[in-house]
Amino acid sequence: MGTRLIALVLLLVVSGCTPRPETTPAQANNATDVMFLQMGLAQIDEGDDLATLVAQRAEDPALRTLATDLGGQWREEDGTMRRWLLGWQQPLTPGPGTDHAGHGHLHTLRPADLADLKSRKSDFDRTAVGLLLSHLGNCVETSRMESAGGAYPPARALARTITERRQSQVRALLTMAASG
């Protein structure tokens, strides 16, 4: 019996499902959950203008549709993320000195990228696909971080959904890049 229990615990841990001792509340969250939501909000905030611009200006109708869908999904994800952080009385943005803040300037989409895209007379679609791939690649890293280390089951479920959604967009964008 004891061995079985230990084996079960190990199995749960190895498969990425953190076992929760009975004494803690069923819906406990950890620092990874908070970071996932804060980084997720920041990435939606950065990406939203890009998605809006691409939805308006892309020549390829499939790219316009992808950007429109992405914007809609982001609005929905944004609401959920905010609600949880507010409920946990956590700030909506990562504090100074966190990993993300320290490393963030390397990973963020910049106003200059958007300005460059806006001013393009040609090559708009190709540039837009590149910027979206770059940004969505970072979004997938964030949601996978939650899948690997988050504790709050609904946040883990959201991360799974986000990974699936962004991956399907990355697949479509890479297919467009390869054919263009």
């Binding site: 230990i6 190990l10 910049r110 200059a112 590149g130 770059s134 940004h135 390869a178």
Partner: protein, 249 residues
């Protein structure tokens, strides 16, 4: 019994912590999206059975200097598997490579190889790139199915990011046609087993950027060549490299 259980949970926790480190994709930074690199073909679903690379095509990071598609690390060995049916993009002699960068590390150089031949190197001198990057590279007379190895050498770490791109060169089409009248017959006569040596110290009258008419002659490293097709020469189209353009006299 109870104590044993606690110990097991503790060590399971330690195991979880080490797993967390191992699976946290924190080292992700860049790859070639078009023509599609091997990791891009995995992430787009064009090639299946690639493993975790589909989530992080930007993560092929390893110490500088490797000639392997996965950079020689233990991860992503599937990228080295030449028996996998990697699609090869049809291109001309000039190819434009597009990078997707998820982190903008200051960069020393970008290098492109076929086999042991350096096709091109771009020196950024430590500058920080944008979110995307584009290079136009001459295939230097290589034709047929080839694998281009690209290396993004980071300025402030010992590492590089690796992307292998499978190409069918001179097979018509092409992501970027040559800037001038391309040869109507692709230079397929050149045996792929004898790649050109790296940038020989050229002597003679041949110059990149010069427009040559049919019948005009040049010398290149002591050998005289006659132009077979009108074209404007570019680096990589040196007479010994492109028999479709130049015949030895």
């Amino acid at each position: 019994m109870r104590r044993k259980f606690v110990l097991a949970v503790l060590s399971a926790g330690a195991l979880a912590a080490s797993l967390f480190v191992a699976v946290t994709p924190a080292q992700a930074h860049g790859y070639i999206s078009s023509p599609p690199s091997r990791q891009a073909n995995c992430a787009s679903g064009a090639v299946s059975g690639c493993g975790d690379i589909v989530y992080e095509p930007q993560s092929v990071e390893a110490p500088k200097g490797s000639t392997q598609c996965n950079g020689g690390g233990s991860r992503f060995a599937v990228l080295n598997d030449n028996s996998k049916n990697w699609p090869a993009a049809s291109v001309g002699q000039t190819v434009t490579f597009n990078w997707v960068l998820t982190a903008r590390h200051s960069t020393s150089t970008w290098e492109y190889f076929i086999g042991g031949t350096l096709l091109a190197s771009f020196n950024d001198g430590g500058a920080q790139p944008g979110a995307t990057k584009q290079h136009t590279v001459s295939m230097r007379g290589f034709t047929g199915r080839q694998t281009v190895l690209a290396r993004w050498n980071i300025a402030d770490t010992t590492n590089a990011f690796y992307s292998c791109v499978d190409l069918n060169i001179g097979g018509g089409g092409g992501s970027t046609p040559p800037p001038t009248t391309p040869p109507t017959t692709p230079p397929t006569t050149r045996p792929p087993t004898t790649p050109p040596t790296t940038t020989p110290p050229a002597t003679g009258t041949w110059r990149a950027g010069t427009a040559y008419a049919v019948g005009s002659t040049v010398t290149y490293n002591g050998v005289t060549y006659r132009c077979r097709q009108a074209h404007t020469a570019i680096a990589g189209w040196e007479p010994p490299n492109v028999p479709a353009l130049w015949e030895r006299v």
